[in-house]
């Protein structure tokens, strides 16, 4: 199929709609980048405290830990939404107004989160694990915990509204979610159309899982809020844990599945080779729809009253979740770059790096999701090790690569600037070391979420601090580049 057919699928918007949409996407990306930079500084601070190079109170440490967790998840959410929305609107008609509404709802939620943490003293971690928000032993007030949970509820509502619009747009263009996922092609009811956009498949998957994930999150947040003001209402702690981890796991995983659209859309442009959909591609994404939602019990393996079957499902699907990236998306990226004559710009380097980060990041995750391994790795530094690998080297390079693409870098034979090279390699080395030090710490049984480390663990934290400083250096370059080049950048052709 020629590329002309792909162009013909694209939705026509007015010039003013396109201009407004581009501004909105840039606003999402710049906000995401700025929040991420602040969260990396928060991470650096925590590592310095654990490494005894900085002294702060435990209450402040756990407030920073809380803002770091919720900030990274939120920034990943808003940034990845910017990426997905930018590409998806090319194939389905999406509303700029609703996109902006979600943005401002998100900003309002962020203000509430910051108030609850730094004015109200809330330090119950971003996971708000019931019944901790209501039992702080006087460290934070009920009001602070309530504002934190209300903020998450409001942010979630904004995303739900956006997903409704995406769902409407997908149904209007493709007729059903099933067709958008390519299922009639997968099951042989219609011939395979290799030009069916991968972005539509990914966007539909994200829409389905995040809608359900956020709905579960809303349920648990409302139950938590009721408990705060009516302590006699005591929901089951294990049920609450299930809902929280279902919501949290789905939401953070959906960010990478949303952002990978940048790889599907941009690597073909930089290599001159198409990313064609196929039965294997549809099968992988169809499986992902279920696996992302059903795999969350791997967070609950040390909750022994969990049904045995649920933990087995958690282990098996954790392994299964690695297969699509190792066999389809990562493998596809390798094929498309191999002997393509690609020009290595910061854009393409970041996009290709993201595939490595995702593919390699699944390994420690899969191993930790084995029940027998989880007994000695759960809630150690191994866990932040694998998710920092995923996020720093997988998800964020997708977003950063997209930002560099929007700035116009890497096209027309332009060579990366020295500052961009410095940023890229500082970030690469720093992110890799940060993650590997976390993994090494986990392999040495060092627990996560400890404000004060024992003397035997301090060296790990100090090396981690240096690594985190390198990440911040790289991030500063990316942020300055985005702030100076992105606002005035024209729509890439």
């Amino acid at each position: 199929m020629s590329s002309t057919a792909v162009v013909n699928r694209k939705i026509e918007y007015s010039e003013s709609e396109n201009r407004n949409a581009l501004i909105a996407v840039k606003a999402h990306l710049i906000l995401g980048l700025a929040v991420l930079l602040l969260m990396m500084l928060a991470g650096l601070t925590m590592r310095a405290v654990q490494g005894t190079w900085l002294e702060i109170g435990a209450d402040l440490f756990y407030q920073i830990m809380t803002v770091h967790g919720v900030g990274v998840v939120g920034a990943a959410g808003i940034g990845s939404t910017g990426v997905l929305w930018y590409f998806l609107r090319q194939y389905v008609r999406l509303s700029n107004t609703i996109f902006w509404i979600n943005f401002f709802v998100f900003v309002a939620g962020v203000v509430m989160l910051l108030g609850s943490i730094f004015l109200g003293g809330y330090g119950g971690a971003w996971t708000f694990l019931y019944p901790l928000p209501g039992k702080s032993m006087g460290v934070w007030s009920t009001g602070a915990a309530a504002v934190f949970q209300l903020a998450l509820l409001i942010i979630g509502t904004g995303f739900l509204i956006l997903y409704l619009d995406m769902g409407r747009g997908i149904l209007a263009s493709f007729g059903s979610l099933s067709k958008a996922l390519g299922l009639p092609q997968l099951f042989g009811r219609v011939p395979v159309d290799t030009t069916h956009p991968p972005t539509v498949v990914a966007g539909t998957m994200v829409l389905i899982v995040n809608f359900l994930g956020i709905a579960a999150g809303a349920v648990v947040l409302v139950m938590g809020l009721i408990n705060l003001y009516n302590p006699e209402f005591q929901p089951d702690a294990l049920l609450m844990k299930n809902l929280i981890y279902f919501f949290g796991h789905v939401f953070i995983n959906a960010t990478i599945y949303a952002s990978v659209t940048a790889v599907y859309e941009l690597l073909p442009r930089y290599t001159g080779r198409p990313w064609k959909t196929s039965k294997v591609f549809y099968a992988a994404w169809f499986a992902i729809v279920f696996m992302v939602m059903a795999v969350y019990p791997h967070h609950l393996m040390m909750d022994f009253p969990m049904p045995r079957w649920a933990l087995i499902v958690g282990q098996v699907l954790s392994f299964g979740s690695g297969i699509p990236v190792l066999v389809v998306t990562g493998y596809g990226a390798l094929m498309i770059v191999y002997r393509s004559g690609i020009q290595w710009s910061t854009t393409t380097k970041l996009l290709f790096l993201s595939m490595f980060g995702w593919a390699a990041g699944v390994i420690p995750a899969i191993l930790d999701a084995m029940v027998t391994v989880n007994r000695v790795f759960h809630n150690t530094m191994w866990v932040p090790g694998h998710f920092h690998f995923y996020l720093l080297l997988g998800l964020l390079p997708m977003m950063f690569g997209f930002i560099y693409h929007l700035t116009g870098e890497g096209r027309q034979g332009e060579q990366p600037k020295a500052a961009d090279n410095l940023g890229f390699y500082a970030y690469l080395i720093g992110a890799f070391l940060t993650s590997m030090v976390f993994l090494a710490s986990g392999a040495n049984s060092i627990p996560r979420r400890w404000a004060t480390h024992m003397a035997e663990w301090v060296t790990f934290a100090q090396v981690g601090t240096v690594a985190a400083a390198l990440v911040v250096l790289g991030m500063l370059v990316f942020t300055f580049r985005a702030l100076f080049s992105l606002p005035k950048a024209a729509e890439p052709r």
């Binding site: 844990k241 080779r273 390798l334 390994i363 420690p364 027998t372 150690t380 004060t452």
Partner: protein, 174 residues
């Protein structure tokens, strides 16, 4: 177990890195006929998929039989097991008794009086030997046999508030 898992992680990640480096090194030389590239590597992909599938089945079977978590419905009698009742609170542990014998299995009955905690058993070298969650409304049964006498530490492994990191106690094994 821990060092094996760590070594496997490093080796597999290094192999993945090597594959990506191979592609980077081979990215400049242009092969204009992309269909010949896909034809060749799609063939490899099928084998790669079946390799991963087979590996997954083998690992699943070997790692889950027998199931690594003790039966929570079973009553663990005191003539076969040493029974230790563990209660957790913000931010301390109570263990009754807090001394056990080496060589005979210990059943820890772990619960919480307030929020979620994590009951982690560490040896004198600060190596994590086993753990379970301590949850309000539930009693988790964790079985562990200590190989040698000594002073073992119990650390909290689930974030439980401002003094979470100070929630440490000691278990004596004779």
């Amino acid at each position: 177990m821990v060092s094996t898992v760590y070594a496997i992680t490093l080796v597999v990640m290094a192999l993945i890195a090597a594959v990506f480096c191979f592609v980077i090194v081979n990215s400049k030389k242009v092969e204009t006929d992309y269909s010949s590239v896909t034809k060749k590597w799609y063939g490899v992909r099928g084998k790669w998929f079946f390799f991963l599938l087979t590996l997954g089945v083998i690992i699943t079977y070997l790692s889950l039989s027998p199931f690594p978590i003790p039966d929570q419905k079973k009553g663990y009698q005191e003539n076969e097991y040493q029974v230790v009742k563990v209660d957790s609170y913000q931010w301390y542990w109570t263990m009754t008794p807090n001394t056990v014998e080496a060589g005979k299995p210990v059943t820890f009955l772990v619960t919480s009086g307030d929020v979620n905690h994590g009951f982690g058993i560490y040896d004198e070298n600060l190596e994590l030997l086993g753990q379970t969650q301590a949850m309000p409304g539930y009693t988790n049964k964790l079985i562990h046999t200590f190989d040698k006498p000594g002073k073992y530490k119990i650390l909290c492994l689930e974030y439980c508030g401002v003094a979470h990191h100070a929630m440490i106690t000691e278990l004596t094994v004779k």
